[in-house]
Symmetry: C2
Subunit: 299 residues, 2 copies
Amino acid sequence: MLYLIGLGLSYDSDITVRGLETVRKCKRVYLEAYTSILMAADQSTLEKYYGREVILADRELVETGSDQILEGAKEDDIAFLVVGDPFGATTHTDLIIRARELGIPVEAIHNASVMNAVGACGLQLYQFGQTVSLVFFTDSWKPDSFYNKVMENRKIGLHTLLLLDIKVKEQSIENMARGRLIYEPPRYMDIATAAQQLLEIEELRGEKAYTPDTPCVAVSRLGSPQQKFKAATLSQLAEYDSGEPLHSLVMLGRQVHDLELEYLYQYVDNKEEFKNFVVEDQEFFKPPPYVPAEEVDSD
Amino acid sequence: MLYLIGLGLSYDSDITVRGLETVRKCKRVYLEAYTSILMAADQSTLEKYYGREVILADRELVETGSDQILEGAKEDDIAFLVVGDPFGATTHTDLIIRARELGIPVEAIHNASVMNAVGACGLQLYQFGQTVSLVFFTDSWKPDSFYNKVMENRKIGLHTLLLLDIKVKEQSIENMARGRLIYEPPRYMDIATAAQQLLEIEELRGEKAYTPDTPCVAVSRLGSPQQKFKAATLSQLAEYDSGEPLHSLVMLGRQVHDLELEYLYQYVDNKEEFKNFVVEDQEFFKPPPYVPAEEVDSD
């Protein structure tokens, strides 16, 4: 059996009781170590906590060496640990499909991930549109496919969760060219970089998917003891010191409910100023509704 | 301290280790018992598992008697247990705001909820739009505010998660009128009812947010030992026997990736037929993109 086990967001003890019991009975335990990190625990903490050896699985192992992970999984129990929930990244779907091809039964043990825990910032989860990813820009590569998606969400009034880039076990171009297996130190995008990149693309595209005054919520170290939220405009966040990773960013949609706004006030510097920015942003980006027919009822 | 603790989806052991440790040290333990249920455990199972008395909190207690829940929470630890994640329902945000007004510190211990665990069906979470709720229709009350939202999601190609109604501790109109505290047996909307209601509203509105041939995924007993997925069209699902609760429904968006489709094939009756429905649905509902400018790059 292949068990995909979500570890949640931060502590070693964020694993579920069922997850922990399962890990402890597995023959081999892999930890997926490239799409996210557990903020308050590392490999050795986990090994001690589980009482088991934990094998770090990098992108190469998961994407091209999956048969190695799955070896013997028809007879033995293998655990594949994922920070957050196992279905957070496409790469794990590949592993499941491969397991099924090999006739290996698969069971998932779910856990919290940023995709649902972001509700802790006070914005309602059902008001979020599609999620986008923001990768580190280089001088020559500034991918902006997120821009249209943010625009689509905002046109229909929805909030957007922006997942910020994580670079783990990356080689420099020079080292890669020379075939040297030397890895750069890990990099985690902070809020200021994310906000600056967003503003840079708006500057380039100029289609007003958002403005420097668009209100956002900086989500830092979600679920950890140092969790922090900051509600401010994009230009204010471009100068915000968000501290240690991990971070995500939420851009507000037009349909901000009073209850959401009230909740956000505890994270702002100036309540009146923030409220004005929200109202302005709503006015600024108020397209006609797509469906002109009147609702016959509402729930 | 008020602890809001997510219980996950099904088993008593789906609580996190940190959650369980916290419950066991709390003076009073409430279980929110009206927005969802834990499929493989009930109040007495949980009491035994925690070694604590568990107080059921109905809507009335949470929404109008929150000060009773919060009594003494400045000095003592109080646990408020929520199936799924604590931030799944607006009603819990109210409780947090009230706690903060009273100067009571609040900590959330997150867990999986349908909002992220639905990724187990094989559709990618970041491709979901806003979430909608479908309530039981009566002869005179057929709320269809979900319809515009489904339309908005589908126009930009996104999947829609539809949460299906749960009626717990409801009074009949007659009993309510006579002031009799007699409650109806709990009702959980099944897949066939959801599909029929969707088709009824499309019939009434006729704006083609979807058609009887629109492909969907029935999500039954997510995270439980009897978890089951079924991929079929809306009209096929209108006759589907989905079995015991709980259920959710996902309506596919236009942007179905090959990897998603490949994953769904394991849940279909006829692979070729399903594929044709997906292609037809994509063709049928292919609006011009909202943002005509070409992307300069893509990631």
